[in-house]
Amino acid sequence: MDTKISRRDFLKLAGSMAVAPALPSWMPRMAFAPQGVEPPGDILVVVFQRGGMDGISAVIPHGDPDYYHHRRRLAIPEPEDGSDQTGIDLDGYFGLHPSLRPLKDLWDEKTLAIVHAVGSPDPTHSHFDAMDYMERGTPGEKSIPTGWIGRHLQTASWQNESPFRAIGMGGVMQSALRGPIPVTTLKSIADFHLQGGTAELDELRARLSALYNLGSPLDQHALETFNAVDILAKIDVTNYTPSGGAAYPETEFGMAMKQVAQIAKAEIGLEVACVDIGGWDTHNLQGQLDGELPMLLSELSAGLASLYHDLGERAKRVTVVTMSEFGRRVYENGSSGTDHGHGNRMFVVGGGVNGGKVHGQWPGLAPDKLFGPGDLNITTDYRDVLGEIVEKRLKNPKLNEIFPNYTDWKNIGVVQS
């Protein structure tokens, strides 16, 4: 394929510039693009909530009497106007946890869409299997080694050569990104450079780069690292001030979201960013209005809302989607927590979403409507949500390659074409 050859030429070129990086200080996305190809769609930001979020505490079905019946200790009280100790009503049936307050503004301006009773159809209650299936994009099937985002990047008609086309925040490569397209992992933009005095640094770097040009399988990683260092060197990190009144939480997640905004604004070819936020495995004392879960929800919502506001006009071309490997048991356990469940909810944020609406069918929480040991049922396959985003927002129609073996597509209408 031409694009692959041109990618390698690009890398060779970049590698030979090791001593004096000569990349332009402002590098428009187009600089990486092959001639005569349509520009890509939105930037996609995927937030993975690891551990299994309790979806019915985040988006409460306050109109479903069974919710209050099952959740004696943990249910979020029915919305009351002006109270910060109750749910925040959305549509008369669903409401947000009060710790998700920052998301209410997005809901009101129709840039937040919610999908409920959504998830991966595989019945596993194992974190690791559930995450694995979800990120591969092939529930119940482990034979395909790549991830759904990796396959999207691979099959898109637009092939952009930037090392920042796909980034894994937190220094890890999320398995959804697995595939032939290189991924840059990043913890801190400010620290992403070789340490040492400048004079000797160029010298060291040239030798190091030569050592990684002798045929080691690690050479590719090294080359990608050098390229990424060169480009990030042009981003002013010390003077970055978020726009739109964004106040990112001072946490790893908050910092990751802030850096996604920086990279998006720097126009260095970003198409997909994966961000993790962990700690959702609330078996014990999960907390109702205060405690472990509410703190996480507040961190999540502050991060999502800050990214949206910080991006300003650019948010029209950004889609953020959140997911978690499964929801939690509808029945509380004896230690004021919840065990692993099934159905969950997803948030979709951006200028191109059909916001202000809870999408999907609510299966209800009556005991005979529950799945397996007492879990929320799934009425929407998470691939329907992702597929729609990939097709309509990322402009990649090759869903049969990105989600192979899935044929039962349903139109959710969660994003605009």
């Binding site: 220094g171 290189p182 840059t184 992403f192 010298e203 050592l211 002798l214 990424a228 495995d281 040991p373």
Partner: protein, 516 residues
């Protein structure tokens, strides 16, 4: 469907073929020999590093090592980095005798460790005493410090390697609630006494480890609505594995069996706080069915019965064997070998020493040189060992580096433990962090670690000498010619005393040093 780049590299054995060129050369004065690498492997390594992703390649056969090359390979795998002293010891004892001695750690004097651990008083305190400390994270900090010091300095390297292995297998995140003060006991009373013993004893001890019961919420599990967290991971991660085919019903029933397995509260006067005990008042005394077996309600012994079943289960034998093979052979160990290892597990009732002997004697092991990418902890400790870094009192800054690299002990949140595969760790930011750490350590700019490179290179009079002395010290052999000439070039670019730290940092950052 096409395969990913990293899978491709794994499948083709490229990493192994490539490192065979550089890592197997004996420690002699002659240039490294390429005789071990087959022509096919050389071809693959030099011309096809970035293959297209649409084709698979038949793995190249790797040479089966012996003599000095096998000795070095074995020590790279079994230790946190072979020092020249340890290599010499293995050479003089003979490899087999060296391994047998390592498998009996109590027989190896370790006076340096005794002295180094002297200041860490929380290691020998009771839970009650640790709880009374004003500084509530002190015991966690001291345990992390002690663990790193042991890995760096202990003569009982195989033992420390297995302590790390089981510590990850039975992972406990030290930041969770009382785990801050309880993990010290888990390390001392569960992991260390059994790290080279029988898997069964390890499992039994872990199931009554207060830190584990807190970490996986078992201590809070009540009869009428049990908490499933520990029951699930006991099957999925500690014993039979998720592929073994148990159902959610089995998990729920096991959670019922384990109700009552709890720990004493902080104000318990009778037995003291944070001690395991069985509380019949919160046990579910109904009948249960697990993995097709009916369990009569007898209390605590129901749990013992299940632990016995799990320890004896063929799936456990397979699961543990696969994990050991992944640690000591390669990320994707040969399935036939894993089956053979499982049989040894079954025949010996999970005798960990016997499993290790089987691995070390296997062709799979002897032909796996360089196939393992160092985890950040492997990389970090090995740099300290080969540079003979002295760890000074205030080690905060040094451990921040390990945290940045991504693998501070006992700090992995999820119960599966730190990943042990290259794919997870070989990333852009991961490479950069390693390079920076190597250069900074060699330049003596990290507080908490001091290296004396002029002592290590005392006899080196020329740029060539410096490169060779440091390569032999860090890698066990001289660099292959192509890499060596790059380093000699660097070493010639300034006066020796100025340039030596750069040369050292460069070797630590080289692709050759990233594998074990």
């Amino acid at each position: 469907m096409t395969i990913s780049r990293r899978d491709f590299l794994k499948a083709s054995g490229l990493m192994a073929a490539w490192t065979a060129l550089s890592a197997c050369a004996p420690n002699t004065e002659t240039p490294p020999s390429h005789a071990h690498a087959t022509p096919g492997a050389t071809q693959a390594a030099t011309s096809q590093v970035f293959p297209e992703f649409t084709q698979a390649v038949v793995p190249s056969a790797m040479p089966i090592l012996d003599g000095e090359a096998l000795l070095q390979h074995t020590l790279r795998r079994l230790t946190f980095g072979p020092t020249p002293e340890m290599l010499d010891k293995a050479r003089s004892m003979g490899l087999e005798a060296f391994i047998e001695e390592q498998l009996l750690p109590e027989s190896i004097p370790d006076p340096e460790i005794d002295a180094l651990l002297q200041p860490f008083r929380t290691l020998n305190m009771t839970v009650a005493q640790r709880l009374e400390l004003n500084e509530n994270s002190r015991s966690a900090r001291e345990l992390i410090d002690a663990t790193i010091l042991r890995q760096r300095h202990s003569q009982r390297q195989v033992f420390e390697m297995m302590v790390d292995f089981w510590g990850n297998h039975f992972n406990i995140y030290i930041g969770k609630f009382l785990c801050k003060v309880l993990k010290t006991d888990d390390d001392l009373k569960v992991i260390r006494p059994n790290a080279l013993g029988k898997f069964r004893d390890l499992l039994y001890a872990s199931a009554k480890s207060p830190a584990m019961l807190v970490y996986l919420d078992q201590a809070e599990s009540l009869g009428e609505s049990p908490n499933e967290n520990y029951a699930r991971e006991l099957m999925e991660l500690h014993t039979v594995g998720v592929e073994s085919g148990y159902s959610h019903h089995d998990v729920a029933e096991l959670a019922r069996v384990l109700t009552g397995w709890t720990i004493s509260r902080p104000n318990n006067q009778k037995i003291g706080p944070g001690i395991y005990y069985f509380n019949p008042d919160i046990h579910d005394y109904g009948e249960k069915h697990i993995l097709g077996t009916m369990i009569s309600p007898t209390g605590e012994s129901e749990g013992m019965l299940i632990l016995d079943m799990l320890a004896s289960h063929n799936s456990t034998a397979h699961f543990i064997s696969q994990k050991l093979a992944r640690r000591f052979i390669s990320d994707s160990p040969d399935l036939a070998f894993v089956d053979a290892l499982s049989q040894v597990f079954i025949d010996t009732d999970g005798d960990i020493r016997q499993l290790l002997r089987t691995i070390l004697n296997s062709e799979a092991f002897k032909s796996s040189a360089g196939m393992k990418f160092k985890k950040p902890l492997d990389f970090f400790i090995s740099t300290l060992r080969v540079t003979d870094a002295k760890m000074t009192e205030n080690s905060r800054k040094l451990y921040e580096q390990l945290q940045l690299l991504g693998q501070l002990p006992f700090s992995w949140l999820m119960p599966d433990g730190y990943p042990d595969v290259e794919e997870y760790w070989a990333t852009t930011s991961g490479m950069l962090d390693r390079w920076n750490f190597g250069f900074m350590l060699a330049s003596n700019v990290i507080r908490g670690a001091a290296v004396n490179l002029s002592a290590l290179t005392r006899d080196a009079a020329s740029p060539e000498d410096v490169v060779d002395v440091l390569s032999i010290r860090f890698l066990g052999s001289r660099m292959p010619d192509d890499a060596r000439s790059i380093l000699v070039d660097l070493a010639s670019s300034n006066s020796l005393d100025v340039i030596i730290p750069s040369v050292a940092g460069m070797i630590l950052g080289s692709p050759h040093f990233q594998v074990r």
